[in-house]
């Protein structure tokens, strides 16, 4: 059964305040008696660990990187939203809330989103006080820009490196606590199991990546801030080591996994150039503000871009959506790019991209203005492709970028396993079926800085003066043994293909059948093929080397094993959700114009999947979504 989501009563604007008043507090002197394990040191994890330590809790922070400054939050380029209304352009908490619920295609919890919008204001204050060098105007005030098609300018940014600057800010706060001895930091420690005793989370088991040492850590509560699972697609904009393992092992221990089929495809990535491609690189969405997207009208047109006259260019977004044009939301832009490429109009050597053309703005504003605005992006593009976007139009194609699904959490960010919390991209909470641009940074920091520290005490008070479960306890010993067994098993299979090979093959299946557009027969087929590939993986994977030394093949094998199970669940979730919404597009459910067709009567709910065992499909639990403050409408960007 799905537990109550603990959404507070009362008008939406008061819910968070009244909830903060109603939760049980831990006396400041007692906070040091509690130990909290925070796994992951991205935006959500680092900010949560730092803030919990500031409050006085004993915190242990875990990251599988060599330092807590590497998490993939760092790669976010565009910015962070906040309802500051510094531009006086009609923004408000309510508008940010409304935009986020609407952008999420009405598949998120109103109360959570409203809280996110409220807290967004504090995030900017907090990060500025920590020294994040947000862009400023000549008057010395913070600069804002409009982002991702928003009608107001509410996005704060630090050049094209907003994610980096925010992460470094949170990392510095964390390192301050490490220096003060209030946070114990474990680097190179990968979570490989969550330990549950008597139905509640009591600790974790980690493997030290450079020594292979498996060890247990126990605490009163465990926070998973371990990011999203976009790498299930193999090719995504995620970093190479991003994985679902922490969340998935928690899922296997009973935590529900919600809405796995909600994956976001970002429209402006550099297309893959060949089979060896290891990852895709995102180009900031801000490029769509000035660049015009087109393909040749004639599918057999193989002339170079500059030889194609204006009349023979098909500006498909501008033609189909005259109001929003090139600035339609991510899912719409992505799907239309896929359509034209599938029609055979793709450009580039592999005919797998569409043009993003800057020649108009170059003519209008001149080289200098364009370079000032997009200089680093154009340079990055040239570095990767060897083509100068000021001479030849850029080629772009959609790629997986963010995953809205994740561990199910209640209003307190606690999963259905008591004592197990999840924050940031790892949970499913705030974005519904589609995330708006510049909202991921906002959510990670909201969870870590403001929400989790305020809600976690409510659970802890019951365990005052009770020490954490000893790591000598059989539950820990069993979990450790399980981890060791899995490592030894991988090393003993002695098959013929590397984990990388299986990951790539899995990614092709997921992209083909559970990618931008899905249909019933494809999803059925995907489940079968994923299972077959998974069986082959367990029989035929080749992992060389030893457990006792840095061994990235061995690490990867464990992660790929989890991706297989996740991919199957994604397909099952996509199959069950017989509607199109946000990042989930079922070809059977579209209007005559090819727009996503929601089914609010039957599917205005969260699908939270409970683990059974490796061979029995998960059980679906549904959390009904109530909409009191936002009217459900069909999105239209025409």
């Amino acid at each position: 059964m799905l537990p109550n989501a603990s959404i507070p009563e009362g008008p939406i604007a008061d819910k968070w305040d009244s909830h903060k008043f109603n939760v049980k507090l831990v006396n400041p002197a007692n906070k040091r008696k509690f130990k909290i394990l925070v796994v992951g040191t991205g935006l959500a994890g680092a900010s949560a660990a730092a803030t919990l330590a500031e409050l006085g809790y004993n915190v242990e922070a875990f990251t599988f990187h060599d330092t807590p400054r590497r998490a993939h939050s760092i790669a976010a380029q565009g910015g962070i939203n906040a309802a500051k209304n510094y531009r006086n352009d009609g923004d408000s908490v309510h508008r940010l809330f409304y935009d986020t619920v609407k952008g999420g295609d009405y598949r998120s919890r109103e109360a959570n989103v409203y809280r996110l919008a409220q807290v967004s204001v504090e995030i900017i204050d907090q990060m500025t006080a920590q020294g994040v060098p947000f862009a400023r105007e000549y008057g010395g005030l913070l600069d804002n820009r409009s982002f991702g098609g928003a009608q107001v300018s509410r996005t704060f940014y630090a050049r094209g490196q907003t994610g980096q600057q925010l992460l470094i800010g949170a990392y510095q706060q964390l390192m301050r606590q490490v220096g003060l001895g209030k946070v114990k930091l474990h680097t190179q420690a990968e979570l490989l199991d969550v330990v549950v005793k008597d139905g509640r989370a009591v600790g974790i088991v980690t493997r030290h990546l450079t020594t292979g040492q498996v060890s247990s850590h126990s605490g009163h509560a465990v926070v998973l801030a371990t990011g999203g699972y976009g790498n299930v697609f193999y090719l995504s904009t995620n970093a190479m080591t991003c994985n679902v393992t922490a969340a998935w092992r928690a899922h296997r221990k009973g935590a529900y996994f919600a809405n796995p089929c909600y994956t976001q495809i970002h429209p402006t990535c550099i297309p893959a150039s060949d089979d060896f491609q290891s990852k895709l690189t995102l180009m900031s969405e801000s490029l769509r503000n000035d660049g015009r997207i087109w393909v040749p009208r004639d599918r057999d047109d193989v002339r170079s871009a500059d030889k194609i006259p204006e009349a023979e260019r098909y500006y498909f977004l501008e033609e189909k959506y005259p109001t929003f044009g090139n600035l339609v939301p991510r899912d719409v832009a992505s799907r239309n790019a896929k359509t034209v490429v599938d029609e055979g109009r793709g450009v580039g050597p592999a005919r797998n991209g569409v043009y993003l053309d800057f020649s108009d703005v170059l003519k209008r504003d001149g080289v200098k203005v364009v370079e000032e605005k997009y200089g680093n992006l154009l340079e990055m593009y040239e570095r990767i492709t060897g083509e100068d976007p000021q001479k030849v139009p850029m080629r772009i194609y959609p790629a997986t970028h963010y995953t809205m699904g994740g561990l199910w959490v209640d209003y307190n960010l606690m999963t259905n396993v008591p004592g197990l919390y999840s924050a940031g991209e790892a949970n499913f909470s705030d974005h519904g079926a589609n995330r708006l641009g510049a909202s991921a940074l906002m959510q990670g920091l909201a969870d870590g800085y403001f929400v989790l520290p305020a809600t976690i005490g409510n659970y802890l008070t019951d365990f005052l003066n009770k020490p954490p479960v000893s790591t000598d306890d059989p539950v820990f010993q069993q979990a450790e043994a399980g981890v060791r067994d899995q490592m030894n098993h991988f090393l003993s299979i002695g098959g013929t293909h590397s984990p990388e090979h299986f990951h790539r093959e899995l990614g092709k299946l997921v992209w083909e059948y559970i990618g931008m557009a899905r249909n019933e027969s494809g999803l059925q087929k995907a489940i079968g093929e994923i299972r077959a590939l998974r069986d082959e993986f367990w029989k035929d994977v080749r992992v060389l080397g030893t457990n006792e030394s840095l061994n990235s093949s061995l690490e990867k094998a464990g992660r790929v094993a989890d991706f297989f199970e996740l991919a199957e669940l994604m397909a099952r979730d996509a199959l069950t959700r017989e509607e199109s919404c946000g990042g989930h597009f079922r070809e059977e459910y579209q209007d005559p114009d090819g727009e996503a067709l929601r089914n609010d009567d039957d599917f205005a709910h969260v699908s939270a999947w409970g683990w059974n065992d490796a061979d029995t499909p998960q059980t679906e639990h549904r959390e009904k979504l109530e909409f009191e403050y936002v009217k459900l409408t069909q999105r239209s960007y025409k």
Partner: protein, 257 residues
């Protein structure tokens, strides 16, 4: 369009910390020049695995030049010969058919080798933990626009804050000095109004922690050339100035209080 390269690699192989290491030679044939340097290593690794040989461990993660995980010595230059570029953003079209490429891990006493091309850069974190922050516990912030910061100051802070913590500055320095890394963080925080309260304490603490691990600066300028974010040597001068001031200022403050 894309060309095919046949390369000879000499890669440092070392089974673990304190184990002997040596250069191994590998043929990397049929590499497309569209591949990135790390993708070239991926291909070599896949071939090694197919031959039942242990693949090369190399540091990498985001492959977008921002996370700071990657970084190896390529033909005697940190992150290779292209300026302002992290190893992951270096592409094979910058090499020619028939090239021999020598790949070696970062070397510094503070960066012991973990395996093959991977080193332990944790002393950089120790420098940050010593003072690379502004004390602003959650909840204490005033409105973000209360303090105006001239655009030029914010831009200069951002130039310094662009550091990705890859350690190339230390690796490129003949003295294995950590000056560029440390000074970039010091200047990021010392130049902002929010960072003034702890300015001199921070400078002292960070410099003195840095010197526990790294060598001293002899102003060669290799660090800045190797830096994938092209962080300026100027910050080192600012750090030196603030450090001397810190020594004098704190004494005065102590006598006043």
């Amino acid at each position: 369009m894309s060309k095919i390269l046949n390369l000879t690699l000499q890669v440092w192989r070392q089974a673990g910390p304190n184990k002997p290491g040596t250069f191994e030679t590998y043929q990397a044939n049929g590499i497309s020049d569209d591949a990135s340097f790390l993708e070239m290593l991926d291909i070599v690794n896949e071939r090694l695995i197919a031959d039942n040989k242990i693949p090369i461990e190399f540091p990498h993660d985001c492959r977008e030049g921002i996370c700071g995980t990657c970084g190896v010595m390529i033909n005697g230059q940190a992150h290779g010969h292209e300026r302002g570029t992290a190893t992951c953003q270096l592409h094979m079209r910058k090499f020619s058919d028939g090239d021999t490429i020598v790949v070696e891990p970062w070397r510094a006493k503070a960066f012991p080798i973990v395996r093959d091309l991977v080193v332990d850069r944790s002393p950089l974190d120790a420098v940050i933990a010593a003072g690379g922050f502004i004390t602003a516990p959650t909840g204490t912030a005033n409105d973000a626009n209360d303090i105006r910061i001239p655009k030029e100051v914010a831009d200069s802070a951002m130039d310094a804050a662009a550091c990705i913590g890859c350690g190339a500055c230390v690796a490129a320095c003949p003295n294995s000095a950590g000056q560029l890394f440390t000074s970039a963080k010091i200047w990021h925080l010392n130049s902002l109004p929010q960072g003034q309260a702890e300015r001199y304490k921070r400078t002292e603490a960070m410099v003195e922690t840095m010197e526990q691990f790294f060598g001293s600066c002899t102003n060669h300028g290799e660090c800045s050339e190797a830096c994938p974010k092209e962080i300026s040597l100027d910050f080192i001068a600012y750090m030196n100035r603030d450090y001397i001031k810190a020594k004098v200022k704190n004494r005065r403050l102590a006598s006043q209080s």
